[in-house]
Symmetry: C2
Protein backbone atom coordinates (compact mmCIF):
# COMPACT_ATOMS: atom_id res chain seq x y z
CA UNK A 1 0.00 0.00 0.00
CA UNK A 2 1.46 3.33 -1.11
CA UNK A 3 -0.38 6.30 0.26
CA UNK A 4 0.44 9.92 0.90
CA UNK A 5 -0.72 9.84 4.54
CA UNK A 6 0.72 10.15 8.01
CA UNK A 7 -1.02 7.02 9.29
CA UNK A 8 -4.21 5.08 8.64
CA UNK A 9 -5.51 6.29 12.01
CA UNK A 10 -5.18 9.99 11.19
CA UNK A 11 -6.10 10.08 7.53
CA UNK A 12 -9.56 11.60 8.04
CA UNK A 13 -8.58 14.22 10.62
CA UNK A 14 -5.48 15.17 8.63
CA UNK A 15 -7.65 15.77 5.58
CA UNK A 16 -10.14 17.77 7.65
CA UNK A 17 -7.28 19.89 8.97
CA UNK A 18 -6.27 20.50 5.37
CA UNK A 19 -9.80 21.51 4.42
CA UNK A 20 -9.89 23.91 7.36
CA UNK A 21 -6.58 25.44 6.29
CA UNK A 22 -7.58 25.66 2.62
CA UNK A 23 -11.12 26.99 2.87
CA UNK A 24 -11.88 30.00 5.09
CA UNK A 25 -15.49 29.67 3.92
CA UNK A 26 -15.77 26.52 6.02
CA UNK A 27 -15.77 25.90 9.73
CA UNK A 28 -14.30 22.51 10.59
CA UNK A 29 -14.74 20.78 13.94
CA UNK A 30 -11.80 18.36 13.93
CA UNK A 31 -12.80 16.50 17.09
CA UNK A 32 -16.47 16.23 16.24
CA UNK A 33 -15.71 15.65 12.53
CA UNK A 34 -18.24 18.17 11.30
CA UNK A 35 -17.87 20.65 8.47
CA UNK A 36 -20.20 23.64 8.39
CA UNK A 37 -20.38 26.97 6.63
CA UNK A 38 -18.33 29.59 8.44
CA UNK A 39 -20.76 31.96 10.09
CA UNK A 40 -23.17 29.26 11.16
CA UNK A 41 -26.66 28.37 9.99
CA UNK A 42 -28.66 30.78 7.86
CA UNK A 43 -31.65 31.97 9.93
CA UNK A 44 -34.94 30.96 8.37
CA UNK A 45 -33.34 28.76 5.72
CA UNK A 46 -33.84 25.00 5.59
CA UNK A 47 -30.56 23.36 6.55
CA UNK A 48 -29.08 20.58 4.44
CA UNK A 49 -26.96 17.88 6.05
CA UNK A 50 -25.23 15.00 4.37
CA UNK A 51 -22.55 12.59 5.41
CA UNK A 52 -21.24 9.12 5.11
CA UNK A 53 -17.92 7.38 5.04
CA UNK A 54 -14.82 9.31 4.03
CA UNK A 55 -12.89 8.38 0.91
CA UNK A 56 -15.41 9.86 -1.55
CA UNK A 57 -14.03 13.41 -1.60
CA UNK A 58 -15.08 16.03 -2.57
CA UNK A 59 -18.33 14.41 -1.35
CA UNK A 60 -19.60 15.51 1.18
CA UNK A 61 -17.45 18.13 2.94
CA UNK A 62 -16.45 19.72 -0.35
CA UNK A 63 -20.11 20.50 -1.04
CA UNK A 64 -20.66 22.62 2.04
CA UNK A 65 -21.29 26.24 1.12
CA UNK A 66 -23.69 28.67 -0.49
CA UNK A 67 -26.26 26.93 -2.66
CA UNK A 68 -25.53 23.43 -1.43
CA UNK A 69 -24.99 21.84 2.01
CA UNK A 70 -24.98 23.52 5.41
CA UNK A 71 -23.14 20.72 7.18
CA UNK A 72 -21.37 17.46 6.44
CA UNK A 73 -20.39 14.71 8.86
CA UNK A 74 -17.71 12.39 7.49
CA UNK A 75 -17.17 9.03 9.11
CA UNK A 76 -13.94 7.10 9.00
CA UNK A 77 -12.99 5.79 5.54
CA UNK A 78 -15.96 3.87 4.10
CA UNK A 79 -17.61 3.91 7.55
CA UNK A 80 -20.89 5.56 8.52
CA UNK A 81 -20.86 8.63 10.76
CA UNK A 82 -22.22 7.87 14.24
CA UNK A 83 -25.65 9.13 15.34
CA UNK A 84 -24.28 11.72 17.78
CA UNK A 85 -22.15 13.15 15.02
CA UNK A 86 -25.11 13.37 12.65
CA UNK A 87 -27.13 14.97 15.44
CA UNK A 88 -24.43 17.58 16.06
CA UNK A 89 -24.33 18.35 12.33
CA UNK A 90 -28.11 18.66 12.32
CA UNK A 91 -28.01 21.13 15.19
CA UNK A 92 -25.26 23.11 13.46
CA UNK A 93 -27.28 23.30 10.23
CA UNK A 94 -30.56 24.29 11.86
CA UNK A 95 -31.55 27.85 11.09
CA UNK A 96 -35.02 27.36 12.53
CA UNK A 97 -36.73 26.14 9.36
CA UNK A 98 -35.91 22.46 9.76
CA UNK A 99 -33.21 20.24 8.33
CA UNK A 100 -33.06 17.88 5.36
CA UNK A 101 -30.93 14.77 5.72
CA UNK A 102 -29.50 13.55 2.44
CA UNK A 103 -28.56 9.92 2.98
CA UNK A 104 -26.95 7.49 0.59
CA UNK A 105 -28.65 4.13 0.80
CA UNK A 106 -26.24 2.07 2.89
CA UNK A 107 -27.62 0.24 5.89
CA UNK A 108 -25.32 1.91 8.43
CA UNK A 109 -25.91 5.39 7.06
CA UNK A 110 -29.68 4.92 6.96
CA UNK A 111 -29.82 3.62 10.54
CA UNK A 112 -27.56 6.28 11.98
CA UNK A 113 -29.24 9.16 10.21
CA UNK A 114 -32.63 7.83 11.31
CA UNK A 115 -31.48 7.65 14.91
CA UNK A 116 -30.10 11.18 14.69
CA UNK A 117 -33.39 12.39 13.22
CA UNK A 118 -35.23 10.94 16.21
CA UNK A 119 -32.83 12.59 18.62
CA UNK A 120 -33.24 15.88 16.75
CA UNK A 121 -37.01 15.51 17.02
CA UNK A 122 -36.58 15.31 20.80
CA UNK A 123 -34.91 18.71 20.55
CA UNK A 124 -37.75 20.07 18.41
CA UNK A 125 -35.68 20.22 15.26
CA UNK A 126 -37.85 19.17 12.36
CA UNK A 127 -36.05 16.72 10.09
CA UNK A 128 -36.98 15.27 6.73
CA UNK A 129 -34.87 12.66 4.99
CA UNK A 130 -34.25 11.60 1.45
CA UNK A 131 -32.52 8.30 0.83
CA UNK A 132 -30.61 8.31 -2.45
CA UNK A 133 -30.66 4.99 -4.30
CA UNK A 134 -29.74 5.60 -7.91
CA UNK A 135 -27.36 2.72 -8.68
CA UNK A 136 -29.00 0.41 -11.21
CA UNK A 137 -26.22 -2.18 -11.07
CA UNK A 138 -27.42 -4.36 -8.21
CA UNK A 139 -30.31 -4.69 -5.81
CA UNK A 140 -29.32 -5.64 -2.25
CA UNK A 141 -25.54 -5.40 -2.12
CA UNK A 142 -22.92 -6.03 0.50
CA UNK A 143 -23.86 -2.89 2.43
CA UNK A 144 -27.44 -2.20 1.36
CA UNK A 145 -31.00 -3.34 1.32
CA UNK A 146 -32.13 -2.17 -2.09
CA UNK A 147 -30.12 -0.08 -4.46
CA UNK A 148 -26.98 1.78 -3.47
CA UNK A 149 -26.81 5.55 -3.39
CA UNK A 150 -24.06 6.95 -5.57
CA UNK A 151 -23.66 9.81 -8.07
CA UNK A 152 -27.19 11.20 -7.85
CA UNK A 153 -26.25 12.39 -4.37
CA UNK A 154 -24.29 15.23 -5.99
CA UNK A 155 -27.35 16.23 -8.02
CA UNK A 156 -29.66 16.02 -5.00
CA UNK A 157 -27.35 18.15 -2.85
CA UNK A 158 -26.96 20.80 -5.57
CA UNK A 159 -30.60 21.07 -6.59
CA UNK A 160 -32.17 20.82 -3.13
CA UNK A 161 -29.51 23.23 -1.90
CA UNK A 162 -30.52 25.77 -4.52
CA UNK A 163 -34.19 25.52 -3.58
CA UNK A 164 -33.39 25.90 0.12
CA UNK A 165 -31.31 28.97 -0.68
CA UNK A 166 -34.39 30.51 -2.29
CA UNK A 167 -36.28 30.16 0.98
CA UNK A 168 -38.52 27.21 0.18
CA UNK A 169 -40.00 25.36 3.15
CA UNK A 170 -38.72 21.97 4.31
CA UNK A 171 -41.45 19.92 2.66
CA UNK A 172 -40.70 21.44 -0.74
CA UNK A 173 -36.96 21.02 -0.38
CA UNK A 174 -37.46 17.38 0.62
CA UNK A 175 -39.82 16.87 -2.31
CA UNK A 176 -37.39 18.20 -4.89
CA UNK A 177 -34.62 16.07 -3.40
CA UNK A 178 -36.83 12.98 -3.76
CA UNK A 179 -37.75 14.01 -7.29
CA UNK A 180 -34.10 14.33 -8.35
CA UNK A 181 -33.37 10.91 -6.90
CA UNK A 182 -36.33 9.36 -8.71
CA UNK A 183 -35.26 10.89 -11.99
CA UNK A 184 -31.62 9.76 -11.68
CA UNK A 185 -29.77 6.54 -12.45
CA UNK A 186 -26.10 5.55 -12.16
CA UNK A 187 -23.75 2.76 -13.10
CA UNK A 188 -20.04 2.40 -12.26
CA UNK A 189 -17.06 0.50 -13.62
CA UNK A 190 -13.74 -0.31 -11.92
CA UNK A 191 -10.46 -0.86 -13.70
CA UNK A 192 -8.59 -1.29 -10.42
CA UNK A 193 -9.45 -1.71 -6.77
CA UNK A 194 -8.87 0.82 -4.03
CA UNK A 195 -7.14 0.15 -0.72
CA UNK A 196 -8.71 1.24 2.56
CA UNK A 197 -5.81 2.66 4.62
CA UNK A 198 -6.72 0.71 7.75
CA UNK A 199 -7.02 -2.53 5.78
CA UNK A 200 -3.71 -2.05 4.01
CA UNK A 201 -4.53 -4.25 1.05
CA UNK A 202 -6.77 -3.92 -2.00
CA UNK A 203 -10.48 -4.45 -1.37
CA UNK A 204 -10.64 -6.83 -4.30
CA UNK A 205 -8.42 -8.14 -7.07
CA UNK A 206 -8.85 -7.77 -10.78
CA UNK A 207 -6.74 -9.55 -13.35
CA UNK A 208 -4.50 -7.53 -15.66
CA UNK A 209 -7.08 -7.23 -18.43
CA UNK A 210 -10.24 -7.54 -16.34
CA UNK A 211 -12.76 -4.90 -15.25
CA UNK A 212 -15.68 -4.95 -12.80
CA UNK A 213 -19.00 -3.75 -14.23
CA UNK A 214 -21.49 -2.28 -11.77
CA UNK A 215 -18.92 -1.59 -9.06
CA UNK A 216 -20.02 0.15 -5.86
CA UNK A 217 -18.24 3.17 -4.43
CA UNK A 218 -16.67 1.05 -1.69
CA UNK A 219 -15.37 -1.54 -4.12
CA UNK A 220 -18.31 -3.82 -3.39
CA UNK A 221 -19.02 -6.26 -6.21
CA UNK A 222 -20.99 -5.29 -9.27
CA UNK A 223 -22.96 -7.26 -11.80
CA UNK A 224 -20.20 -9.05 -13.55
CA UNK A 225 -16.58 -9.06 -14.53
CA UNK A 226 -15.41 -8.91 -18.06
CA UNK A 227 -12.43 -8.19 -20.24
CA UNK A 228 -11.08 -4.68 -20.66
CA UNK A 229 -12.65 -3.27 -23.82
CA UNK A 230 -12.44 -0.02 -25.79
CA UNK A 231 -14.06 2.87 -23.94
CA UNK A 232 -16.88 2.97 -26.48
CA UNK A 233 -17.94 -0.58 -25.63
CA UNK A 234 -17.63 -0.08 -21.88
CA UNK A 235 -19.73 3.07 -22.12
CA UNK A 236 -22.33 1.19 -24.18
CA UNK A 237 -22.64 -1.41 -21.42
CA UNK A 238 -23.01 1.32 -18.81
CA UNK A 239 -25.56 3.28 -20.80
CA UNK A 240 -27.52 0.19 -21.79
CA UNK A 241 -27.95 -0.59 -18.09
CA UNK A 242 -29.15 2.93 -17.34
CA UNK A 243 -31.36 3.16 -20.42
CA UNK A 244 -32.99 -0.22 -19.62
CA UNK A 245 -33.95 1.07 -16.19
CA UNK A 246 -35.05 4.60 -17.10
CA UNK A 247 -35.28 5.23 -20.82
CA UNK A 248 -33.23 8.20 -21.95
CA UNK A 249 -35.53 10.98 -23.08
CA UNK A 250 -35.65 14.74 -23.26
CA UNK A 251 -33.02 16.94 -21.68
CA UNK A 252 -30.55 15.21 -19.41
CA UNK A 253 -28.09 16.23 -16.74
CA UNK A 254 -25.16 13.83 -17.09
CA UNK A 255 -22.14 13.32 -14.90
CA UNK A 256 -19.11 11.33 -16.00
CA UNK A 257 -17.41 10.86 -12.67
CA UNK A 258 -13.90 9.64 -11.98
CA UNK A 259 -13.40 7.17 -9.15
CA UNK A 260 -10.29 9.00 -7.94
CA UNK A 261 -7.46 7.47 -9.96
CA UNK A 262 -8.72 8.08 -13.49
CA UNK A 263 -7.06 10.83 -15.50
CA UNK A 264 -9.24 13.62 -16.83
CA UNK A 265 -8.14 12.88 -20.41
CA UNK A 266 -9.87 9.50 -20.09
CA UNK A 267 -13.01 10.97 -18.50
CA UNK A 268 -13.40 13.39 -21.39
CA UNK A 269 -12.98 10.52 -23.83
CA UNK A 270 -15.70 8.63 -21.97
CA UNK A 271 -17.95 11.70 -21.99
CA UNK A 272 -17.61 11.88 -25.76
CA UNK A 273 -18.92 8.30 -25.98
CA UNK A 274 -21.75 9.01 -23.54
CA UNK A 275 -22.72 12.05 -25.54
CA UNK A 276 -22.81 10.04 -28.76
CA UNK A 277 -24.88 7.28 -27.09
CA UNK A 278 -27.40 9.76 -25.73
CA UNK A 279 -27.78 11.41 -29.12
CA UNK A 280 -28.24 8.05 -30.81
CA UNK A 281 -31.10 7.34 -28.39
CA UNK A 282 -32.99 10.52 -29.15
CA UNK A 283 -32.18 12.42 -25.98
CA UNK A 284 -29.77 15.29 -25.37
CA UNK A 285 -27.37 16.37 -22.66
CA UNK A 286 -28.38 19.83 -21.50
CA UNK A 287 -26.01 20.06 -18.55
CA UNK A 288 -22.99 18.02 -17.53
CA UNK A 289 -20.15 17.43 -15.10
CA UNK A 290 -16.90 15.71 -16.08
CA UNK A 291 -14.41 15.08 -13.28
CA UNK A 292 -13.97 13.64 -9.79
CA UNK A 293 -17.13 14.31 -7.80
CA UNK A 294 -17.84 11.13 -5.83
CA UNK A 295 -14.71 9.04 -5.59
CA UNK A 296 -13.51 5.77 -4.13
CA UNK A 297 -10.06 6.67 -2.87
CA UNK A 298 -7.53 5.94 -5.64
CA UNK A 299 -9.71 3.50 -7.59
CA UNK A 300 -9.35 3.69 -11.37
CA UNK A 301 -12.68 3.64 -13.11
CA UNK A 302 -15.68 5.85 -13.68
CA UNK A 303 -19.40 6.10 -13.24
CA UNK A 304 -22.14 7.72 -15.25
CA UNK A 305 -25.12 9.38 -13.62
CA UNK A 306 -28.07 10.55 -15.67
CA UNK A 307 -30.91 12.76 -14.44
CA UNK A 308 -33.97 13.57 -16.52
CA UNK A 309 -34.26 17.34 -16.20
CA UNK A 310 -37.35 19.47 -16.04
CA UNK A 311 -37.28 23.22 -16.55
CA UNK A 312 -37.46 23.72 -12.81
CA UNK A 313 -34.66 21.27 -12.11
CA UNK A 314 -32.45 22.85 -14.78
CA UNK A 315 -33.05 26.26 -13.31
CA UNK A 316 -32.10 25.03 -9.84
CA UNK A 317 -29.02 23.29 -11.25
CA UNK A 318 -27.95 26.57 -12.88
CA UNK A 319 -28.43 28.59 -9.68
CA UNK A 320 -25.25 29.97 -8.10
CA UNK A 321 -23.19 27.61 -5.98
CA UNK A 322 -20.03 28.36 -4.05
CA UNK A 323 -18.38 25.34 -2.47
CA UNK A 324 -14.87 23.88 -2.74
CA UNK A 325 -16.16 21.11 -5.01
CA UNK A 326 -18.70 22.94 -7.18
CA UNK A 327 -18.65 26.64 -7.94
CA UNK A 328 -20.34 28.78 -10.51
CA UNK A 329 -22.49 31.77 -11.21
CA UNK A 330 -21.75 33.89 -8.21
Amino acid sequence: MKKLINSPETVVTDALAGMAAAHPSLSVDLDGKIITRAGGPVPGKVGLVSGGGSGHEPLHGGYVGYGMLDAACPGEVFTSPVPDQVLAATRAANGGAGVLHIVKNYTGDVLNFRMAAELADDEDIEVESVVVNDDVAVRDSLYTAGRRGVGATVFVEKIAGALAERGAPLAEVAAVAAEVNERSRSFGVALTSCTVPAAGKPTFDLAEQEIELGIGIHGEPGRTRGPLQPARDIVATVMDAIHADLPLAGELLVMVNGMGGTPLIELYGAFSEVSRYVGDHGARIGRNLVGNYITSLEMQGFSVTVCQLTETLRDLWDAPVDTPGLRWGR
Copy 2:
Protein backbone atom coordinates in the same frame (compact mmCIF):
# COMPACT_ATOMS: atom_id res chain seq x y z
CA MET B 1 -1.86 -1.27 -19.22
CA LYS B 2 -5.45 -0.62 -18.18
CA LYS B 3 -6.91 2.51 -19.63
CA LEU B 4 -10.37 3.81 -20.35
CA ILE B 5 -9.63 4.65 -23.98
CA ASN B 6 -10.63 3.54 -27.46
CA SER B 7 -7.05 3.24 -28.69
CA PRO B 8 -3.68 4.87 -28.04
CA GLU B 9 -3.94 6.53 -31.45
CA THR B 10 -7.22 8.32 -30.70
CA VAL B 11 -6.83 9.22 -27.04
CA VAL B 12 -6.19 12.93 -27.64
CA THR B 13 -8.88 13.51 -30.27
CA ASP B 14 -11.41 11.46 -28.26
CA ALA B 15 -10.76 13.68 -25.24
CA LEU B 16 -11.03 16.81 -27.39
CA ALA B 17 -14.36 15.56 -28.72
CA GLY B 18 -15.47 15.13 -25.11
CA MET B 19 -14.39 18.66 -24.23
CA ALA B 20 -16.29 19.98 -27.23
CA ALA B 21 -19.41 18.08 -26.15
CA ALA B 22 -19.09 19.13 -22.51
CA HIS B 23 -18.25 22.81 -22.83
CA PRO B 24 -20.31 25.04 -25.13
CA SER B 25 -18.07 27.90 -23.99
CA LEU B 26 -15.24 26.35 -26.03
CA SER B 27 -14.69 25.93 -29.72
CA VAL B 28 -12.66 22.82 -30.50
CA ASP B 29 -10.95 22.16 -33.81
CA LEU B 30 -10.54 18.39 -33.73
CA ASP B 31 -8.41 18.14 -36.85
CA GLY B 32 -6.17 21.05 -36.02
CA LYS B 33 -6.12 20.20 -32.29
CA ILE B 34 -6.85 23.73 -31.16
CA ILE B 35 -9.16 24.83 -28.37
CA THR B 36 -10.39 28.42 -28.39
CA ARG B 37 -13.08 30.43 -26.70
CA ALA B 38 -16.38 30.14 -28.54
CA GLY B 39 -17.01 33.42 -30.28
CA GLY B 40 -13.42 33.94 -31.34
CA PRO B 41 -10.75 36.37 -30.17
CA VAL B 42 -11.68 39.41 -28.12
CA PRO B 43 -11.01 42.52 -30.25
CA GLY B 44 -8.39 44.75 -28.70
CA LYS B 45 -7.46 42.25 -25.97
CA VAL B 46 -4.05 40.62 -25.76
CA GLY B 47 -4.49 36.95 -26.64
CA LEU B 48 -2.99 34.23 -24.45
CA VAL B 49 -1.88 30.95 -25.99
CA SER B 50 -0.45 27.96 -24.22
CA GLY B 51 0.09 24.38 -25.18
CA GLY B 52 2.27 21.37 -24.76
CA GLY B 53 1.91 17.65 -24.63
CA SER B 54 -1.43 16.14 -23.65
CA GLY B 55 -1.76 14.09 -20.47
CA HIS B 56 -1.63 17.05 -18.07
CA GLU B 57 -5.35 17.86 -18.08
CA PRO B 58 -6.98 20.19 -17.20
CA LEU B 59 -3.82 22.00 -18.42
CA HIS B 60 -4.03 23.60 -20.99
CA GLY B 61 -7.37 23.22 -22.77
CA GLY B 62 -9.28 23.34 -19.50
CA TYR B 63 -7.93 26.82 -18.88
CA VAL B 64 -9.35 28.38 -22.01
CA GLY B 65 -12.03 30.91 -21.17
CA TYR B 66 -12.77 34.29 -19.67
CA GLY B 67 -9.92 35.53 -17.50
CA MET B 68 -7.39 32.96 -18.61
CA LEU B 69 -6.32 31.57 -22.01
CA ASP B 70 -7.69 32.41 -25.45
CA ALA B 71 -6.33 29.30 -27.14
CA ALA B 72 -4.59 26.05 -26.31
CA CYS B 73 -2.81 23.67 -28.65
CA PRO B 74 -2.37 20.19 -27.19
CA GLY B 75 0.17 17.84 -28.74
CA GLU B 76 0.00 14.09 -28.55
CA VAL B 77 0.52 12.65 -25.05
CA PHE B 78 3.74 14.12 -23.61
CA THR B 79 4.65 15.44 -27.08
CA SER B 80 5.09 19.06 -28.13
CA PRO B 81 2.55 20.68 -30.45
CA VAL B 82 3.98 21.32 -33.91
CA PRO B 83 4.83 24.86 -35.08
CA ASP B 84 1.95 25.08 -37.56
CA GLN B 85 -0.45 24.15 -34.80
CA VAL B 86 0.95 26.80 -32.46
CA LEU B 87 0.76 29.31 -35.31
CA ALA B 88 -2.88 28.46 -35.95
CA ALA B 89 -3.64 28.87 -32.23
CA THR B 90 -1.81 32.21 -32.29
CA ARG B 91 -3.90 33.42 -35.21
CA ALA B 92 -7.07 32.24 -33.50
CA ALA B 93 -6.16 34.11 -30.30
CA ASN B 94 -5.17 37.35 -31.99
CA GLY B 95 -7.62 40.14 -31.31
CA GLY B 96 -5.29 42.75 -32.78
CA ALA B 97 -3.36 43.57 -29.61
CA GLY B 98 -0.74 40.87 -29.90
CA VAL B 99 -0.39 37.42 -28.39
CA LEU B 100 1.46 36.05 -25.37
CA HIS B 101 2.90 32.56 -25.65
CA ILE B 102 3.08 30.77 -22.30
CA VAL B 103 5.61 27.98 -22.77
CA LYS B 104 6.71 25.35 -20.30
CA ASN B 105 10.47 24.91 -20.46
CA TYR B 106 10.89 21.73 -22.48
CA THR B 107 13.20 21.82 -25.45
CA GLY B 108 10.59 20.76 -28.00
CA ASP B 109 7.99 23.20 -26.72
CA VAL B 110 10.45 26.08 -26.64
CA LEU B 111 11.66 25.41 -30.19
CA ASN B 112 8.21 24.95 -31.69
CA PHE B 113 6.70 27.98 -29.98
CA ARG B 114 9.70 30.05 -31.08
CA MET B 115 9.27 28.93 -34.67
CA ALA B 116 5.56 29.71 -34.52
CA ALA B 117 6.32 33.16 -33.13
CA GLU B 118 8.59 33.82 -36.08
CA LEU B 119 5.92 32.68 -38.51
CA ALA B 120 3.38 34.89 -36.72
CA ASP B 121 5.76 37.81 -37.03
CA ASP B 122 5.74 37.25 -40.81
CA GLU B 123 1.98 37.73 -40.60
CA ASP B 124 2.38 40.90 -38.53
CA ILE B 125 1.07 39.32 -35.35
CA GLU B 126 3.12 40.63 -32.45
CA VAL B 127 4.12 37.80 -30.10
CA GLU B 128 5.81 37.87 -26.71
CA SER B 129 6.81 34.70 -24.89
CA VAL B 130 7.31 33.68 -21.32
CA VAL B 131 9.11 30.43 -20.62
CA VAL B 132 8.00 28.91 -17.32
CA ASN B 133 10.80 27.16 -15.41
CA ASP B 134 9.73 26.82 -11.78
CA ASP B 135 10.81 23.27 -10.93
CA VAL B 136 13.61 23.42 -8.36
CA ALA B 137 14.24 19.67 -8.42
CA VAL B 138 16.76 19.41 -11.23
CA ARG B 139 18.65 21.60 -13.68
CA ASP B 140 18.93 20.17 -17.21
CA SER B 141 16.68 17.13 -17.30
CA LEU B 142 15.81 14.54 -19.90
CA TYR B 143 13.72 17.02 -21.88
CA THR B 144 15.08 20.41 -20.87
CA ALA B 145 17.98 22.75 -20.85
CA GLY B 146 17.58 24.42 -17.47
CA ARG B 147 14.70 23.93 -15.12
CA ARG B 148 11.45 22.31 -16.11
CA GLY B 149 8.22 24.24 -16.28
CA VAL B 150 5.50 22.77 -14.09
CA GLY B 151 2.85 24.07 -11.64
CA ALA B 152 3.65 27.75 -11.95
CA THR B 153 2.19 27.55 -15.44
CA VAL B 154 -1.27 27.51 -13.86
CA PHE B 155 -0.46 30.66 -11.88
CA VAL B 156 1.02 32.41 -14.93
CA GLU B 157 -2.00 31.59 -17.09
CA LYS B 158 -4.46 32.80 -14.44
CA ILE B 159 -2.70 36.01 -13.46
CA ALA B 160 -1.58 37.10 -16.93
CA GLY B 161 -5.06 36.19 -18.18
CA ALA B 162 -6.65 38.49 -15.63
CA LEU B 163 -4.41 41.39 -16.61
CA ALA B 164 -5.12 40.84 -20.31
CA GLU B 165 -8.84 40.82 -19.55
CA ARG B 166 -8.44 44.28 -18.03
CA GLY B 167 -7.09 45.59 -21.29
CA ALA B 168 -3.39 45.86 -20.45
CA PRO B 169 -0.98 46.01 -23.41
CA LEU B 170 1.15 43.05 -24.46
CA ALA B 171 4.35 44.25 -22.80
CA GLU B 172 2.61 44.51 -19.41
CA VAL B 173 0.91 41.15 -19.75
CA ALA B 174 4.24 39.56 -20.67
CA ALA B 175 5.93 41.32 -17.74
CA VAL B 176 3.45 40.08 -15.16
CA ALA B 177 3.73 36.56 -16.60
CA ALA B 178 7.51 36.70 -16.17
CA GLU B 179 7.11 38.12 -12.67
CA VAL B 180 4.83 35.27 -11.59
CA ASN B 181 7.30 32.76 -12.97
CA GLU B 182 10.21 34.41 -11.16
CA ARG B 183 8.29 34.42 -7.89
CA SER B 184 7.24 30.75 -8.14
CA ARG B 185 8.90 27.45 -7.27
CA SER B 186 7.70 23.85 -7.50
CA PHE B 187 8.74 20.35 -6.47
CA GLY B 188 7.01 17.05 -7.24
CA VAL B 189 6.93 13.54 -5.81
CA ALA B 190 5.82 10.30 -7.45
CA LEU B 191 4.45 7.27 -5.64
CA THR B 192 3.83 5.41 -8.88
CA SER B 193 4.68 5.83 -12.54
CA CYS B 194 2.28 6.68 -15.32
CA THR B 195 1.93 4.81 -18.59
CA VAL B 196 1.93 6.64 -21.91
CA PRO B 197 -0.83 4.97 -23.97
CA ALA B 198 1.32 4.59 -27.08
CA ALA B 199 4.18 3.10 -25.03
CA GLY B 200 1.94 0.62 -23.25
CA LYS B 201 4.20 0.16 -20.25
CA PRO B 202 5.11 2.28 -17.22
CA THR B 203 7.59 5.07 -17.90
CA PHE B 204 9.64 3.96 -14.89
CA ASP B 205 9.48 1.44 -12.09
CA LEU B 206 9.38 2.08 -8.38
CA ALA B 207 9.67 -0.60 -5.75
CA GLU B 208 6.73 -1.31 -3.46
CA GLN B 209 7.88 1.08 -0.73
CA GLU B 210 9.89 3.50 -2.85
CA ILE B 211 9.07 7.03 -4.02
CA GLU B 212 10.76 9.39 -6.50
CA LEU B 213 11.57 12.84 -5.14
CA GLY B 214 11.71 15.68 -7.65
CA ILE B 215 9.78 13.86 -10.36
CA GLY B 216 8.96 15.67 -13.59
CA ILE B 217 5.47 15.81 -15.09
CA HIS B 218 6.41 13.27 -17.76
CA GLY B 219 7.81 10.81 -15.28
CA GLU B 220 11.36 11.98 -15.97
CA PRO B 221 13.75 11.31 -13.11
CA GLY B 222 13.98 13.55 -10.08
CA ARG B 223 16.68 14.19 -7.53
CA THR B 224 16.65 10.91 -5.73
CA ARG B 225 14.65 7.91 -4.71
CA GLY B 226 13.84 7.09 -1.15
CA PRO B 227 11.59 5.04 1.05
CA LEU B 228 7.90 5.85 1.39
CA GLN B 229 7.55 8.00 4.52
CA PRO B 230 4.72 9.65 6.41
CA ALA B 231 3.21 12.56 4.48
CA ARG B 232 4.64 15.03 6.99
CA ASP B 233 8.20 13.93 6.20
CA ILE B 234 7.66 13.88 2.45
CA VAL B 235 6.17 17.37 2.60
CA ALA B 236 9.15 18.55 4.66
CA THR B 237 11.53 17.32 1.95
CA VAL B 238 9.46 19.07 -0.72
CA MET B 239 9.21 22.33 1.20
CA ASP B 240 12.87 22.29 2.23
CA ALA B 241 13.79 22.14 -1.45
CA ILE B 242 11.52 25.06 -2.29
CA HIS B 243 12.52 27.10 0.76
CA ALA B 244 16.23 26.59 0.01
CA ASP B 245 15.71 28.02 -3.47
CA LEU B 246 13.38 30.89 -2.65
CA PRO B 247 12.92 31.51 1.07
CA LEU B 248 9.30 31.44 2.15
CA ALA B 249 8.24 34.93 3.19
CA GLY B 250 5.16 37.09 3.28
CA GLU B 251 1.90 36.07 1.70
CA LEU B 252 2.00 33.01 -0.52
CA LEU B 253 -0.17 31.46 -3.17
CA VAL B 254 0.23 27.70 -2.72
CA MET B 255 -0.99 24.86 -4.88
CA VAL B 256 -1.01 21.26 -3.71
CA ASN B 257 -1.50 19.51 -7.01
CA GLY B 258 -2.41 15.90 -7.62
CA MET B 259 -0.58 14.06 -10.39
CA GLY B 260 -3.81 12.43 -11.61
CA GLY B 261 -4.12 9.28 -9.52
CA THR B 262 -3.95 10.74 -6.03
CA PRO B 263 -7.19 10.90 -4.06
CA LEU B 264 -8.34 14.30 -2.81
CA ILE B 265 -8.38 13.05 0.79
CA GLU B 266 -4.59 12.64 0.53
CA LEU B 267 -4.07 16.02 -1.14
CA TYR B 268 -5.91 17.74 1.70
CA GLY B 269 -3.78 15.87 4.21
CA ALA B 270 -0.69 17.06 2.37
CA PHE B 271 -2.01 20.62 2.28
CA SER B 272 -2.38 20.51 6.05
CA GLU B 273 1.32 19.66 6.34
CA VAL B 274 2.30 22.34 3.84
CA SER B 275 0.28 24.87 5.78
CA ARG B 276 1.98 23.91 9.03
CA TYR B 277 5.43 24.09 7.41
CA VAL B 278 4.76 27.52 5.95
CA GLY B 279 3.54 28.82 9.31
CA ASP B 280 6.59 27.40 11.06
CA HIS B 281 8.77 29.34 8.64
CA GLY B 282 7.14 32.68 9.29
CA ALA B 283 5.14 32.97 6.10
CA ARG B 284 1.44 32.54 5.44
CA ILE B 285 -0.76 31.06 2.74
CA GLY B 286 -3.07 33.78 1.50
CA ARG B 287 -4.53 31.87 -1.43
CA ASN B 288 -4.47 28.20 -2.38
CA LEU B 289 -5.51 25.46 -4.75
CA VAL B 290 -5.87 21.82 -3.71
CA GLY B 291 -6.68 19.32 -6.45
CA ASN B 292 -5.69 18.10 -9.91
CA TYR B 293 -4.48 21.08 -11.95
CA ILE B 294 -1.41 19.87 -13.86
CA THR B 295 -1.38 16.12 -14.01
CA SER B 296 0.71 13.28 -15.39
CA LEU B 297 -1.94 10.87 -16.63
CA GLU B 298 -2.74 8.42 -13.81
CA MET B 299 0.47 8.93 -11.84
CA GLN B 300 0.07 8.81 -8.04
CA GLY B 301 1.91 11.61 -6.35
CA PHE B 302 1.72 15.34 -5.86
CA SER B 303 3.57 18.57 -6.36
CA VAL B 304 3.69 21.79 -4.41
CA THR B 305 3.96 25.15 -6.12
CA VAL B 306 4.58 28.31 -4.13
CA CYS B 307 4.32 31.87 -5.44
CA GLN B 308 5.28 34.92 -3.41
CA LEU B 309 2.31 37.22 -3.81
CA THR B 310 2.23 40.97 -4.06
CA GLU B 311 -0.96 42.98 -3.63
CA THR B 312 -1.22 43.32 -7.38
CA LEU B 313 -0.72 39.63 -8.00
CA ARG B 314 -3.28 38.71 -5.34
CA ASP B 315 -5.79 41.06 -6.88
CA LEU B 316 -5.22 39.50 -10.32
CA TRP B 317 -5.48 36.01 -8.83
CA ASP B 318 -8.83 36.95 -7.28
CA ALA B 319 -10.22 38.38 -10.51
CA PRO B 320 -13.09 36.47 -12.10
CA VAL B 321 -12.23 33.40 -14.13
CA ASP B 322 -14.57 31.14 -16.05
CA THR B 323 -12.94 28.06 -17.54
CA PRO B 324 -13.66 24.33 -17.20
CA GLY B 325 -10.67 23.93 -14.87
CA LEU B 326 -10.83 27.10 -12.78
CA ARG B 327 -13.95 29.11 -12.12
CA TRP B 328 -14.85 31.77 -9.63
CA GLY B 329 -16.19 35.20 -9.06
CA ARG B 330 -18.33 35.67 -12.07
